[in-house]
């Protein structure tokens, strides 16, 4: 059984809307663009075709797909081998909670307009497909501080710019 298992970690995470618009994608295993596109398209079809009462897991290709729908957004993760589906489901939920905390009752539009923030949060939470920090507090703290740093950066920018131009 051990020999069978290969990549244990998350392969990728996708966020897409009910209309099949991709909102966020994160690949933890380097994949070529073409392959990515194909997989995203196929997976979206499969997931969107499922009925609301069906269970959150499905086997697709050689992967296990864990998805959950929050309002109009589907959060969808692909894991491999022996990895645990429920943990993944829990991860998805954690991520949604984080988004919720950060944006303050998050909605799809938040993610569209601040997609880079959504990525940053995801990056703080998961790294290379593995949980980085399970504590919501510490993730949010890291993000807030990074944002703070960014704001500090932004204010003196114009002055520096002038200097740079001159």
């Amino acid at each position: 059984m051990l020999e069978e298992s290969r990549e244990e970690l998350m392969r990728f995470m996708l966020l897409f809307s009910r209309q099949g618009k991709l909102r966020l994608q994160k690949w933890y295993l380097a994949t070529s663009d073409k392959e990515r596109k194909k997989m995203v398209r196929e997976l979206m079809q499969v997931v969107l075709a499922r009925k609301p009462k069906m269970c959150s897991f499905l086997e697709w290709r050689d992967l296990k797909v864990v998805y959950k729908r929050y309002a109009s957004l589907y959060f969808c993760c692909a894991i491999e081998g022996q990895d645990n589906e429920l943990i993944t489901l829990e991860l998805i939920h954690r991520y949604v909670e984080l988004l919720d905390k950060y944006f303050g009752s998050v909605c799809e539009l938040d993610i569209i307009f601040n997609f880079e923030k959504a990525y940053f949060i995801l990056d703080e939470f998961l790294m290379g497909g593995d949980v980085q920090d399970t504590s919501k507090k510490s993730v949010l703290k890291a993000i807030e501080q990074a944002d703070l740093l960014q704001e500090e950066d932004e204010s003196p920018r114009s002055v520096l710019e002038e200097m740079g131009l001159a």
Partner: protein, 1106 residues
């Protein structure tokens, strides 16, 4: 799409701007477009630019874009190495963090190799935020660059006891993942993990640890025992405290792989069952446990059967899978019965078909191992034929045939059932659909024909088979009908003749003659052929019968003998006899070769394939004898070979043939004749009775200890309890071992996949570190950075100065040759060469000193990867740049290309041999290294020689420069293999190439009148410098300027001189040098003001040293 392409154009415009903020915004937009599926690989370079922005805001966006769009095929990725390294050592933890996060997404083997050491250093960073990330990314690095595992492992182990829980859990994660690849190397960590498990309160960490133990326990059984107690405690507490039922199931699943005792886990599992959310997982867990502990799951059969009623199809299918695994002799009938009711209830053909195949799978698995009563199975199959619209008619048919052939005892029953099937009309109704249920008739007809001796009312069946409606069936079924009608006919004929009913026999023949023409008219060729052939045969028989000749004997001789099942692989397994070339033609190829009949159709012995007899005439006696022997063997083992055929086989009867397989007597306690189509339920009841009886009998036997040779099998042990093994099957399955020839070759075992990326991680971590396994360390750089980042600045300056110096020296040398030809006034080259050498030595010495210091400090800091080898670190000779060496007959048109040749002198100061040197230079926008065709930007350019100790050599490289108005520096790395007695190490040296403006100038002679014209033209801009404190003579001063800055003197009047030079891109530079008292002033005029001011700056620096 139009809008998008417009946007992309806009973005391209934005990227061209200098403003980094605009660029970052553009990259951000690109990232979004990438998500929408647009290709942004063309912007990779811009992304790197944004990544290298100094401000966090932009850096963050740059890294995000990189992590989204880069993959291993991205060729610019190599350019990021130094940038990432810089960010990793940045004082801001967020810079480092963002770099680590980005890296985790696009780490390549090269990046992993180059950065492994930097990341390792970060693992002991003061901030837990960084430590955590560094630890996690190590896993990715290990995957890409497995050599780093051993050196990094001790530190990883330390991190397990990190005070910060985040770091701790990261370390647990990484080790857990590693251990699952290759658990045995991590056994030594078990006590540590045990401690963690009992002390940790973080559920996430706990799960990982338990997963890890799941991997470890199979290797160390003692561990399992030790774990039971804490684990069961854990299970209970987790179940009670956590709101996440998922976690506990996660624990259970990981448990199942290694735990010896499942009672507790099963208990919890069933408790969890009530929560519908985890039903699917529960089933999954069950199926895992099933593999190791089938019995404990079997008791939950009812629960699983309930799942079949679930709404979600995937749950139902899971449950079916589970059922497949948990059937036993005891519960098979019950389970199948349950499934049958589901078949009736199920809506939707796909699910019903799935059920049907599962039923057949379950029953037929491992050669009908669990079937105790084949009559029951046949009746199940017959019941399944009532399903409408199934696609698996063929499957059922195959099962029927298989069972009828293999289980001799069941034939009589099977025949009676099949004749009933043939009789019933409902199957014919659905005949339109190919592969539909009508396929069953194929099996039914064949069984009735082949085993016609068992038929109760053969005449009746014959009529059923000759019904006109049969012609609506698909062709291949009709063909079988025709064939088997004859068999049946032969049988009837024999019966009638034996009974002396000549009239009856004639009546049957008449029936045949009447009915067969309907098949002769069939559209199917096969049917037509067979039918017309048989029609003639029957007509012939009719004639004979008319003469009162007994024909039955001869007719039935047509179908004598038995057919045996042949395993699909049997033919493949027969080894090719020596000397037999299967590819060679035996005869000249015929245009239309006969196709061989497939087994189910090979009803006639006459049609069976004969082994091609191929006997080369030149073979000698001995060879012939040997072959005969071999053939004998094969024939005995080849079920296709006709055993009952006369003479030749007789001699070999001592070899075990199919006939010798012991076929156990039928248990006559079951009434074989069940009228009509019986319900399978009856059999369940009967079976119970039979078992009961068997048990009673057994008891009796035990008491009396007397053999009762009457019925059934007596092979069972005398254990009174009724276990699985005790239930003797009512019929024996004739699993013919000869299905496979005896000398069959064992099938090739699947080799372990050599491409398995994780195999590389199979590294023994307990071995001590060997010197050669050190990570490639950029030693001096490391030392610099580990002290403080500010220190970087002076060092860089030191470095950049040196090349300049050397550069000039070198150019001098080169120009000497030119100058000689051009007959210009110059110093003697001899003298210069000497000087040059001397200076070089001095310089390198000095450098050695400056380098040793940081090394020493690093050792003091206790870097584990450092050892004595550092002393041998080769010292590089810095690169020098020079204009392209002009060959003597050059016409002075240097504008053709903006190329600069850089000659690099490499001197080996170590005691090792340096091999495989490779120079990689980080191109800037402005300066590019000219590389051999086909190599990509991050490929190193090989140095075309090796360096034994103490030897120096020069390599030349060409650079293309876009703009020459500014001086610039290029960063590069020289990688090489240092080989000495202790082995070879792979090492690297960073260097910088300094392209000064002067190096773009070429000495060009100019006449004073032309010079005057240039100055008068007025399109030159002017600038001047003044340097004080010059003591040198004016003559020497001019020589120096000519020397270092490639000028030539146009005119000299007293302490005043005019000089001229020209750049490779054709800028004119005119100088007026005046010497005052202790000072020199230089006024310059040039067509490019930037170039001029930069040149004068450089000149000022040179003069200041005078």
């Amino acid at each position: 799409a139009k809008y998008i392409s417009q946007c992309i154009d806009e973005i391209k415009q934005e990227l061209k701007q200098d403003n980094i903020a605009v660029k970052a915004n553009a990259v951000c937009k690109l990232t979004y477009l990438q998500m929408l599926g647009y290709d942004i690989s063309w912007a990779a370079f811009n992304i790197i630019e944004v990544m290298s922005a100094s401000k966090f805001t932009f850096k963050r966006i740059g890294y995000l874009a990189a992590s989204q769009s880069f993959h291993e095929g991205t060729d610019v990725i190599m350019l990021t190495t130094n940038q990432i390294r810089k960010d990793l050592s940045s004082p801001s933890q967020y810079d480092t963090g963002v770099a680590l996060t980005g890296l985790s997404c696009f780490v390549t083997p090269d990046l992993a190799r180059d950065l492994a050491n930097d990341i390792m250093t970060l693992m002991s960073h003061t901030k837990p935020y960084i430590r955590k990330k560094a630890v996690l990314i190590m896993y990715k690095v290990f995957l890409k660059y497995p050599e780093s595992l051993r050196p990094a492992f001790p530190r990883l182990k330390e991190k397990l006891e990190d005070p910060d829980p985040g770091v701790q859990s990261a370390a647990v994660n990484v080790i857990c993942e590693l251990a699952r690849r290759n658990p045995k190397n991590y056994l030594s960590l078990a006590p540590l993990f045990f401690k963690l498990m009992t002390s940790s309160t973080n559920n996430w960490v706990l799960i990982k640890i338990i997963k890890l133990f799941g991997a470890l326990t199979p290797l160390e059984p003692r561990l399992g025992k030790k774990l039971i107690e804490p684990l069961t405690n854990l299970i209970h507490s987790v179940v009670l405290t956590t709101v996440l039922p998922g976690l506990s199931v996660a624990v259970l699943i990981s448990l199942s792989s290694g735990m010896p005792n499942h009672s507790a886990s099963i208990q919890v599992l069933t408790w969890l069952w009530r929560l519908s959310a985890v039903k699917y997982l529960g089933l999954l867990a069950m199926s895992k446990i099933l593999k190791t502990h089938p019995k404990s799951v079997q008791s939950h059969k009812d629960l699983i059967l309930q799942c079949l009623d679930d709404k979600d199809e995937s749950i139902r299918l899971r449950a079916l899978d589970l059922l497949y695994g948990m059937v036993s002799k005891k519960n098979l009938m019950e389970i199948v019965k349950k499934l049958m009711t589901h078949v009736d209830k199920a809506e939707g053909t796909t699910y019903r078909d799935e059920l049907l195949t599962k039923i057949i799978d379950i029953c037929s698995q491992s050669n009908y191992q669990y079937i105790t009563n084949f009559e029951w199975y046949i009746s199940i199959l017959v019941e399944l034929t009532r399903l409408e619209g199934t696609r698996h008619g063929h499957l059922i048919a195959a099962q029927m045939l298989d069972v009828a052939i293999r289980v001799k005892a069941i034939r009589k029953f099977a025949v009676s059932q099949m004749s009933a099937l043939l009789d019933s009309a409902h199957l014919l109704a659905s005949s339109t659909q190919r592969n539909g249920i009508c396929e069953v008739l194929y099996a039914a007809a064949w069984i009735c024909g082949e085993f016609s001796e068992h038929l109760q009312e053969p005449h009746h069946t014959l009529e059923a088979m000759l019904r006109p409606k049969v012609t609506t069936l698909p062709g291949h079924i009709q063909a079988v009908y025709v064939q088997n009608v004859v068999k049946l006919y032969a049988n009837i004929l024999q019966q009638k003749e034996q009974a002396g009913e000549a009239e009856g026999a004639q009546a049957v023949t008449q029936l045949m003659v009447d009915r067969l023409p309907q098949f002769v008219q069939s559209a199917d060729l096969e049917v037509q052929e067979r039918a017309s052939c048989i029609l003639q045969l029957v007509k012939h028989i009719q004639k004979l019968q008319a003469k009162d000749v007994p024909v039955a004997e001869e007719v039935s001789a047509l179908f004598a003998g038995e057919l045996n099942p042949v395993a699909p692989k049997a033919q493949k397994k027969v080894p090719v006899p020596e000397g037999l070339d299967l590819d060679a033609w035996i005869n000249e190829p015929l245009s239309d070769s006969e196709s061989e009949d497939e087994r189910p159709r090979a009803v006639f012995h006459e049609e069976e394939q004969r082994r091609p007899k191929h006997r080369p005439s030149e073979a000698d006696e001995e060879e012939l004898a040997r072959r005969r022997e071999a053939r004998k063997q094969e024939q005995a083992n080849n079920p296709f070979y006709i055993k009952s055929s006369p003479s030749p086989q007789k001699r070999y009867q001592d070899t075990p043939g199919v006939e010798h397989i012991p076929v156990v007597q039928i248990d006559l306690s079951v009434p074989l004749k069940v009228p009509g189509l019986p319900m399978s339920d009856q059999y369940v009841r009967l079976e119970e009775e039979r078992r009961h009886r068997q048990k009673l009998e057994k008891d009796k036997r035990r008491k009396k200890r007397k053999e009762k040779e009457k019925k059934g099998k007596r092979r069972h042990s005398s254990l009174p309890t009724e276990s699985d093994e005790d239930i003797a099957p009512a019929q024996q399955v004739d699993i013919v071992t000869e299905e496979m020839p005896e000398n069959a070759l064992p099938s090739d075992e699947d080799d372990k996949d050599p491409n398995d990326p994780y195999r590389a991680l199979d590294i023994d971590l307990d071995k001590p570190l060997a010197d050669s396994e050190k990570l490639p360390v950029q030693k001096h750089r490391n030392a610099e950075t580990s002290k403080s980042p500010e220190k970087d600045v002076p060092v860089v300056e030191k470095k950049s100065k040196k090349p300049k110096k050397k550069e000039k020296k070198h150019k001098e040398k080169e120009r000497d040759k030119e100058k000689k030809r051009e007959k210009e006034k110059k110093k003697s080259p001899k003298h210069k060469k000497k000087k040059h050498k001397k200076e070089k030595e001095e310089r390198t010495k000095g450098k050695k000193k400056s380098k040793k210091q940081p090394l020493g400090s690093e050792e003091a800091a206790g870097e584990p990867v450092q050892n004595g080898a550092a002393e041998e670190e080769p010292l590089p000779v810095r690169g020098t740049s020079a204009p392209p060496p002009r060959t003597c007959d050059i016409r002075g048109s240097l504008q053709e290309d903006s190329q600069v040749t850089v000659a690099i002198v490499l001197e080996n100061r170590s005691s090792s041999i340096l091999k495989g040197m490779e120079l990689s230079v980080l191109d800037s926008l402005n300066a590019r290294m000219a590389r051999p065709q086909g190599s990509s930007v991050h490929d190193g350019v090989p140095v075309p020689f090796q360096l034994p100790p103490g030897v120096s050599n020069e390599a030349q490289y060409v650079f293309t420069i876009q703009s020459i108005v500014m001086a610039q520096k290029l960063k590069g790395t020289l990688s090489f293999i240092a080989k000495n007695d202790e082995g070879a190490t792979h090492e690297k040296l960073d260097f910088r190439l300094h392209f000064s403006c002067s190096s773009y100038l070429t000495t060009t002679p100019c006449y004073s009148d032309a010079f005057a014209k240039l100055l008068e033209s007025g399109d030159l801009s002017m600038s001047s410098v003044k340097v004080d404190g010059i003591r040198m003579s004016f003559q020497n001063l001019l020589a120096k300027i000519c020397f270092h800055h490639h000028f030539s003197v146009v005119e000299r009047v007293d302490s005043c001189a005019s000089m001229y030079s020209r750049s490779i891109q054709g800028h004119h530079i005119c100088l007026l040098v005046k010497k005052g008292e202790n000072s020199v002033s230089v006024d310059g005029k040039c067509s490019d003001s930037t170039l001029l001011s930069n040149l004068l700056e450089e000149m000022k620096a040179t003069l200041a040293k005078c």
